[in-house]
Symmetry: C2
Subunit: 192 residues, 2 copies
Amino acid sequence: MRVNVNDPRAHRTRSYLRSAFLELAAERGLAAITISEVARRAEINRATIYLHYPDLDALAADAMGDAVATVTRLAGLCPLDAPPESAPAPLVDLFTHIAEHAPLYARALGAEGSVSLAVRLREELAAALLARFSAGARPTVSAGVPPELHAAYLAGALLGVIAQWIGAGLPGSAADAANATWRLMAGGAVRG
Amino acid sequence: MRVNVNDPRAHRTRSYLRSAFLELAAERGLAAITISEVARRAEINRATIYLHYPDLDALAADAMGDAVATVTRLAGLCPLDAPPESAPAPLVDLFTHIAEHAPLYARALGAEGSVSLAVRLREELAAALLARFSAGARPTVSAGVPPELHAAYLAGALLGVIAQWIGAGLPGSAADAANATWRLMAGGAVRG
DNA sequence: CATGCTAAGCGACAGTCGTCGATTAGTCGA
DNA sequence: TCGACTAATCGACGACTGTCGCTTAGCATG
């Protein structure tokens, strides 16, 4: 990002690049997208891309920023004291959002996806949960558990479930998946 | 893997390639390793590598097979009915193993790591846990939760915690990290 | 030991990547 | 409207990738 963010030329160029990337991402897996191809599709010189993004991962992260923000926002909205029987509404919304964009998430988080994107999503998710802990009620059951580890546990579990759900072809409804996940989060996942 | 597995020439070549890869992995991040460099280090012709592995990820997976197997084995040994206060011994061993090979796991699972390796680890971990469910006691608290989702939840949570623990510089002891993780798994991670 | 099989070596190919210096052209303020 | 600034273009570079056909050489069987 060496160029001026406010220059309309730069703004246009980045917009074209994001659109071209998302077009290609809808057609093939993320791993099959090349810098050259994005440049051709966007009708932007290849060298110009490097004025805006250090690599393709950064462009992918920018193009998928809205999706990532939605996931972290919904996760951060979940009340931590909801009853174990039924998932809080934001968690259901989160799974609904995933289902609506399943091809994109499958490609971004699957074996042909992007490491840096997956790592970023996990870290931002953990950060959102950590902020939620600071802002209010942290479950008393986790006394002695470092909050960072606690947040990483939940973020990893959520992403693990999402990956499995997508990989299995989205069996059941979003509410079913959310309820099952919430039950494990609230009631424990071992020793029943 | 187009070549004969039993031919001593092929066996030697693969051994050289694995060693060269692990040497390079100890020196720099996985993302900074190239096929050409492995070939030079192993003193094997670059084209020959393609006779044994479709890409660098496959070579990485082969070279790190022992490490992955250790993690899945230890995870599969955990008794699911251990008391929440202290983690079962295999889980402590798992965190000890991670700590002993922290640089390798940090590079393999971090932002400069390998997607396919991370995905493979998560899937094999989930498969090991699923096998454990079939073999015996599945917690009754998870009634109504599909076993595949349950296994993915635990695998994701464990990898999330491991990534956080490594990223934070291995704070505390392996037993501390294992105990905190087990407490969340056994007692629930929300609604305390 | 001689012969057939095949792994490994070798050189070449087109394509991609990341970078560079020099040029063109779009923006904005005076 | 003119001029300074700078985003974008262009062509080129060395390096890496994946693949190919051909040759060399190590292994195993008779």
